[in-house]
């Protein structure tokens, strides 16, 4: 908006007045030009305030539902990186959706844990090799039924990473046996308890 001088009629009105008007463009293109949109940048959504690194968190779904685990960091996809620690409750480093988790008030110090190298690509399942034929045939299906499937073993690098991440956590928990028991124990609701009325 700019101030523009405009003539005003009537002898007692001062002859001219300053009026606010929108600024006119200096240039108008001859043909219609499509407006360029800025490319959408994907950012991990902001987490609720109760989820900070080091928070003990209750898993609500998946194989480890009911387990209390430690939240380490948020990955770019928006999922949370959590760990049992594995030595304590058998939950490995895992991605977990923030919505399938209850954040408790208990916090553990995770400043000594280095999680910089873990991202979504680290956790992505290796793409299964497709069969040479491409189509599933009856003979191939029955053939496969007889043979033993190769056992999937976790590469040692994953085990080493898990140990490295859990090292400082396990050390801290050694000095607090009650907290260690807490992480070992599973969460469940008893009669009369309502999650929406409970403080976690």
């Amino acid at each position: 908006m700019v101030q523009v001088e405009k003539p005003v009629g009537g002898e007692k009105n001062g002859g001219k007045r300053m009026v606010t008007r929108p600024k006119e463009a200096k240039y108008y293109p001859g043909e219609d030009v499509a407006v360029k949109r800025t490319a959408l940048v994907h950012k991990a959504p902001k987490l609720r305030g109760s989820l900070t690194p080091g928070t003990v968190v209750i898993l609500l779904a998946s194989r480890f539902r009911g387990r209390r685990v430690v939240f380490l960091k948020q990955l770019d996809s928006g999922t949370l990186l959590v760990t049992g620690p594995y030595a304590i409750n058998g939950v490995p480093m895992r991605r977990v959706d923030a919505r399938y988790v209850i954040a408790t008030k208990t916090k553990i110090d995770v400043s000594a844990v280095d999680v910089a190298k873990f991202d979504d690509a680290y956790f992505k399942k290796a793409a299964a090799k497709k069969s040479a034929g491409g189509k599933k045939s009856e003979e191939a299906f029955f053939e496969a039924e007889g043979t033993e499937k190769p056992k999937k073993t976790l590469p040692d690098s994953f085990k080493a990473d898990q140990k490295a991440v859990d090292a400082s956590l396990v050390k801290a928990l050694k000095s607090d046996p009650l907290l260690k028991c807490y992480l070992k124990a599973k969460f469940s609701l008893t009669k009369g308890q309502a999650p929406h009325e409970m403080v976690f």
Partner: protein, 146 residues
């Protein structure tokens, strides 16, 4: 023949809705707070005021309050300042907190605010207490059997 109930008056009641009766609010925004009856509207509602406990002067129905043992000296329809002075000198919050009801009330409030870890610690403590009691009981039982 007048029947006098044990533990009650002629009518069998001990606590009455009256000006100055200290009440505990059991429902609504002011749940769990203490106030004083400043005036009685009718058979359903009374005017309640709790300047020392954060209860705004308001009409409240009897279904939402529980009568306590204490009665404070105030004139009918006393304004908030007068109720405040009387409540402070009568120490309504301390008196209630000292009663068994008050202690249970405070405990329930504490339990509602326990975190998940607190509840776990509580469970461990109860188990330990039970274990110690059971140990002693078994010891005594063994001695008695001899």
């Amino acid at each position: 023949v007048v029947v006098v109930c044990v533990g009650g008056g002629e009518m069998g009641f001990k606590r009455f809705v009256e000006v100055g009766r200290v009440v505990l609010i059991e429902y609504g925004a002011e749940y769990g707070k203490i106030a004083v009856i400043a005036d009685v509207l009718d058979q359903n509602k009374c005017l309640v005021d709790g300047p020392t406990t954060g209860v705004k002067r308001q009409l409240i129905c009897y279904k939402r309050i529980a009568l306590l043992d204490q009665v404070v000296e105030i004139p009918r329809g006393a304004d908030t300042a007068a109720v405040k002075a009387a409540a402070e000198s009568a120490k309504i919050e301390e008196t209630f907190a000292a009663t068994t009801w008050g202690k249970k009330h405070a405990n329930r409030k504490k339990r509602a605010l326990l975190s998940d870890y607190d509840r776990f610690k509580l469970m461990v403590a109860r188990k330990e207490k039970s274990r110690l009691i059971s140990k002693e009981y078994k010891k005594l039982k063994k001695q008695a059997a001899k």
